[in-house]
Symmetry: C2
Subunit: 525 residues, 2 copies
């Protein structure tokens, strides 16, 4: 199995010819007149990358690769704009070296060398950033430190339900190693198969569960982080009130304050009971109101995903007038039917019609949620096939309090539609809630538009700027779970309180005095 250097996942898992024909037929319906010419990726060995500007000291040479395909494959993340630039062979910033430490001391030695020489360091997990978080978008040499060589579940504490996991562990490796113990981290971002614990922690990743346990932050018991100023290790604690949380400074630090090497993570018993239901609503406002009531009811559904009519039609193959709410409750401890019963009382009060309900043992091999998850995890491959055919297909997301949602949603929708029409002529916009909190939803939008091969990135960037302005103006966050990176930076700077920026800049100076860590991300040195 070969990792794609230019796009998502593995080459062998790309869409089949049949799937591509289906996709093209869908595009022809959605975006009539679109030019479906396929633009296959260039040969990465023929891209003529500049030679590395730096050479590692002898003691570190064995960890470092200068292979052009390796360097091209680590040059950026997996955002739509990254994939398109790769397809076009536009690799203007490429790391000089890829270093692959296999133990923490090697991370320390790499940082020591880079700090001494003033070489930028880009911490790199699965490389699935969609915000330019791993791209050396600056002048000067860069070493990308790929930590996937440190990828094991190192220790399991069955009594406390926690595990010490190395930062480079990919999602499936973590679950495979926990499964024999009846445990799960139960954190399933869309990037699950190709992203790492360290990446999740550094970006405050959101999993696919809707309530309660969503952001990786809440699963974090303690962190171990290599900084140029020393190794920071917090105590394993279920809760503490001893000063500001050390972990919360590193959670979301996006490689700018240190390299996370391992963490004790809170686990859960593997679910035994699950009940699911799908509810169709006649109008969007009722759907939103019902979803809010469930979010505020203290029921804590595992899934509470509200799809608007476009999202339901395009991605769930279901026609609804107002919205489709997908509910699930799970437990390792007890049947959860009373929970779903109550949630469905709430949807009924809002004239929601139950179109499916099932209750089953999640141990069964043929598992609807697993099927859905597999389709969900396959979406990036579809995205890549569409990118090759000049379709703009990208997402953006935010969160806001319930009181502001109607205005924010209207404003974002208007901005997106206006931008798509102006820039592309034709396109579609979808919305779903990926997560719901008692005080607000996290709406997630999909854009599908007819692009032009010559200007795909510029077109998307213009749409993205328009919707980002709308988000920031309406009081949302520039990202609920995709991180800031380099792509969100200018809106993040407006969202972030100025005194906090000053504190973060000072913290960075203390931890990274040479300013080598992921320059341009979050904060300038």
């Amino acid at each position: 199995m070969t990792r794609s250097w230019w796009g998502w996942g593995r080459l062998q898992e790309a869409l089949s010819e049949h799937e591509i024909r289906e996709l093209e037929s869908g595009v022809a319906t959605l975006l009539p007149g679109h030019d479906l010419t396929d633009h296959p990726p260039p040969d990465p060995a023929q891209l003529g990358l500049p030679a590395p500007r730096i050479a590692p000291p002898a003691a570190l040479a064995a960890l470092c690769s200068t292979d052009p395909v390796d360097r091209a494959g680590h040059a950026r993340g997996k955002a739509y704009r990254d994939v398109v630039r790769n397809l076009r062979g536009e690799l203007d910033h490429v790391p000089d070296l890829i270093a692959r430490p296999t133990r923490e001391q090697e991370v320390i030695d790499l940082l020591d060398w880079c700090a001494h020489e003033g070489i930028a360091v880009i911490p790199y997990g699965g490389g699935s950033s969609v915000v330019g978080g791993v791209e050396p978008r600056f002048d000067g040499p860069a070493v990308t430190v790929d930590v996937t060589g440190m990828g094991a579940v190192a220790e399991i504490d069955r009594v406390s339900r926690a595990a010490r996991i190395q930062a480079g562990a990919l999602g499936p490796v973590i679950e495979d190693q926990l499964r024999p113990h009846g445990l799960t981290l139960r954190h399933f971002p869309q990037s699950f198969r190709f992203s790492t614990l360290g990446g999740w922690l550094a970006t405050r990743s959101g999993g696919h569960f809707a309530t309660l346990y969503t952001h990786i932050d809440d699963f974090t018991e303690s962190l171990r982080v290599v900084t140029p100023a020393g190794v920071s290790e917090s105590r394993r604690l279920p809760g503490s009130g001893a000063g500001p949380s050390p972990d919360r400074l590193f959670l979301g630090s996006e490689g700018a304050l240190g390299v996370i090497t391992e963490a004790w993570m809170r686990l859960q018993d593997r679910p035994r009971w699950q009940v699911t239901a799908s509810v169709a609503f006649q109008d969007w406002d009722s759907a939103v109101a019902a979803t809010r009531m469930i979010a505020q009811a203290g029921l804590y559904p595992a899934n509470c995903r509200l799809l608007d009519a476009s999202e339901a039609f395009l991605n769930a193959g279901t026609t609804v007038a107002g919205g489709l709410l997908v509910l699930a409750f799970e437990s390792a401890d007890h049947p959860v039917d009373p929970w779903l019963d109550r949630a469905l009382e709430i949807t009924a009060e809002h004239r929601g019609a139950v179109i499916a309900r099932r209750s089953r043992d999640t141990a069964s091999p043929n598992d609807a949620s697993a099927n859905w998850r597999s389709a969900f995890l396959r979406m990036p491959y579809r995205r890549d096939a569409l990118a090759r055919r000049s379709v703009i297909v990208e997402t953006f997301e935010t969160a806001c309090t319930w009181d502001r949602f109607d205005i924010l949603h209207a404003s974002i929708t208007a901005a997106a539609r206006e931008a798509v029409e102006r820039i592309c002529g034709t396109g579609a916009l979808t919305c779903r809630f990926t997560h719901v909190y008692p005080d607000g939803p996290a709406p997630y939008y999909g854009v599908y538009a007819s692009g032009r091969w010559e200007s795909l990135v510029a077109q998307w960037d213009e749409i993205k700027a328009a919707v980002s302005e709308a988000i920031i103006a309406a009081g949302g966050t520039i990202t609920h779970h995709h991180a800031v990176g380099r792509d969100h930076r200018r809106w993040y700077d407006r969202q972030r309180p100025h005194p906090f920026a000053a504190a973060l800049r000072a913290a960075k100076s203390a931890l990274d005095p040479a300013g080598i860590l992921n320059p341009g991300v979050l904060i300038d040195s």
Copy 2:
């Protein structure tokens, strides 16, 4: 109603003669031979406090008090050692001025003046610190900024269930203003009546609910903080992944980074359904195991308080062999009997015997939980009466993962008993879990010992040092919900990762370049 300058709460609410006789009789049983001589508080006007060393500028003079009783009443918090020192008239460090801003601009002006003059500022809410957090334990002048003049619920968002609340709002004021809207902050630390939202936020306060919503951190939607470097205001967001959380830097900052002036707080609907049960266990290990299973079952009880036999006997008047587990489930949305049923299945598997169970409408005026809460809230008055009679009565608390609990508990218990016996001769130790998490409990200990009036503080300090050493050595936190202040500082410094200390010091330098904010707390400038 008059606030006590030397002890807890209001003078008019102190123990009655009858209650004192009962208490004395209890002490005679528990600590035979103890000298029960009463040492009433001195007249604060006769303490001969040194004159203020500073005078405010004319523009701020109207906000400032130099009244000796006012200064004595703000000189320290309400720890046992604070009360005893007050009773002995030992007021070695007293703020020079008490400033009472009524709006944010006055806080800004006060900080400007103090930064310019190099005067220390102690942010002060209800003054209920039990860790020396509000005591000017340093040389040089100090202004205590009492924010209780900014004490209103300023705005309510019923849709998102959130309120903008000023930092100086006391617990009952908050609940009184939310009640007509059917809402509650539902945060009830023991200090509830005499502590403020700002104090809760600055110290990462824990409420009396056992799971899920415990630390004030999780209720915080956004913060507004006046720092010498400017006002920091975060966006109201239900969740965000945009860099390290700005709020989490200020939560637990204990007045060392800024003065919190207001916050948007997440609220809940007032509970309508409640079921409670008490379960007696034959042995402590089974009680702990059952409690852990409930904490890991995803049931999220409102109360899950495990009392050891001494605690059950002394503070709940119940005789049990191994432990008493007090369970409660509440909801504003639905009956919660299935939740309690499942929890009691778990306790039955551990041979727990249900000794009481009731289900009731919490709207009923005569409410067991309200009664319990009222007794719980009254404990500090008993503490004060005992302090006057040379009884050492103080608590300490920690948290740890389940796998370490047995060893930590044995180690703490041994250290406490050895210290009490060595220092006091006779005494008792109790333990309860105040909070339980899926990955560990927060054990809370009570010490009752026979002290000598001449050396009460030194005796307690020696016991406290012994148990603190045991906590830190066994991997616990020096505080789960009492903050660090000045009293926990030396153990906190050992618990905190060094690189995080460097980052925090740098953040403080950026926000408080003159180093005026609460010197000695958390970090040195």
